[in-house]
Amino acid sequence: MSAVNLVVLASAAPAGAAAGGSVDTLNFAILGYTVALGVMWGFALWSLWDLRRSRQRTGQIEEGKT
Amino acid sequence: MSTLSINPAQDWPAADTVTAPVVQTQGLGRVVDDRVILRDIGLTLPRGGFLALLGANGAGKSTLLFCLATLTPATSGRLLLFGREVKKDAARLRARIGMISHQAMLYRDLPALENLTFFGRLYGVARPAQKAAELLEMVKLADWRYEPPKNFSRGMLQRLAIARSLMHDPDLLLADEPFTGLDVRASRQLEDLLRQLHGAGKTIILTHHNIAQSLELAGRVVVLRRGRVALDAPTGSPALAQSVEEILVS
């Protein structure tokens, strides 16, 4: 249900944002940065984990074959 | 990029390639997705030969034939047709190769005559319509000339495919399991046609599953096993059928 509320909220006409209210824009700035850094570093951590997993898997295959 | 096509009929220097063997391969290999399909194939087929290529499914028969037809590039080794390197002269060499397969390689909605005339024009054959009519006569499909292949039986489709492969009067005829799906009568008609073409001096390579029929038709037999040449011998000796069968079964 919260997802639906989120969409409805997002589609609502912006309250004071257009007026450049300072508190509101700061929240948006923080939201922007969290999204950007979250996605970037989330992907980075996943990539490192995937690399380690691939290394282990190749190691097993090599031992298995020899 | 292959060179721009040239008209095969005029400027083909027949002289130097008349004597050269039709097919020469050295260390021919083919690897797809790290699976070795053909490994170190060495074959030489003189003009006028009739070679039967046998092997279990997946032994590499069709791949080898497609390599010889210049449709599939070999991943290693050298392949010469009529004494010329395939990598350099693929377009020109194709003009001297005809191919039939268990697929008709024709347009099912186009009437038989129009199908043949189209391929004739594509190969730059003089008077394609007349040549098409002659070939339809030869393969006994003359009275079906205005029928599209989709209404044909398997046997008739195979004969039409042979007519298509002969439109440009090739010197080498490749047949990829042409007997598949044919009933006894159609199979006999195909045998007669192949003998007739071989008699007319065509070099033929045939892939097949039926050992007896292959040994009877071909002058030489090559058996492939897991991508390698396991046996390469002239037909005729009585024990041959037995040894071929052993290889195919192992």
């Binding site: - | 990029m1 292959s2 191919m99 697929q103 390689m105 347009y107």
Partner: protein, 254 residues
Amino acid sequence: MSRVWSQIAVLAGKDLAIEARTRQTLGLVVVLGILIIVVLGLGLGPQQMAPAPAPGMGGAAAAGATPGAAPGAAPGAAPGAAPGVAALWVAYLFAGVLCFEGSMAVERHDGALAGLLLAPVDRGVLYLAKLVTNLVLMLVLALVLTPVAVLLFGFDLSPAPGSFAAIMAISFVGLAAVGTLFAAVVSSSRLQGGLLAMAIFPVSLPLVMTSTQMLIRLFGQKSASGLSGLGILLAFDVIYLVAGWLAFELVLEP
């Protein structure tokens, strides 16, 4: 060089002969085109025909129309051309995909493509021949769709019919250049139809965006559109014709 043209004529002739006999691709393409135009026309046409275009109406379907009350669409009594042009392009894109897929499907039955590849014909020539076939089929589509669009969206072609035809012709060449190449990829690796549309749409977005803008200006201000747009369309055509010519050989598989 004349040899190449004769081969293109032979190859395209074969495609069109088959199409004339079966009318399979053309039937699908034209009907889908009309369907899309009618559906979008119902959705967009009526309001647009209303005397005072509703203020918030600017949000038309495809790219090219700006949101909110931004003054992109032509203001005032003349009904905005944007929805009609956008609908026309949506119809051409989807019908085009069916056309490219259909004209390549002909080669898939009974291994006909292998028969073609056996001939001593340069793969680039095969590409150009298939491109000609697709252009002819799309011309027939355009001859049917344009009147339908004129009826439903009230386009006024009279001021510059030549420009309209020129813009559409150049755009079709670009779309067919991309479509013919990717259709060869799809036909040989048995991808589903949806993937062909997915491959073609993003790549042809600049073509659609530019052509839509030029047509909107053409109908909006009744003046010939800016030349910069023409430059982009021609650049698109040249780039994708060359790319298609070179890459066709790589993606074909007997």
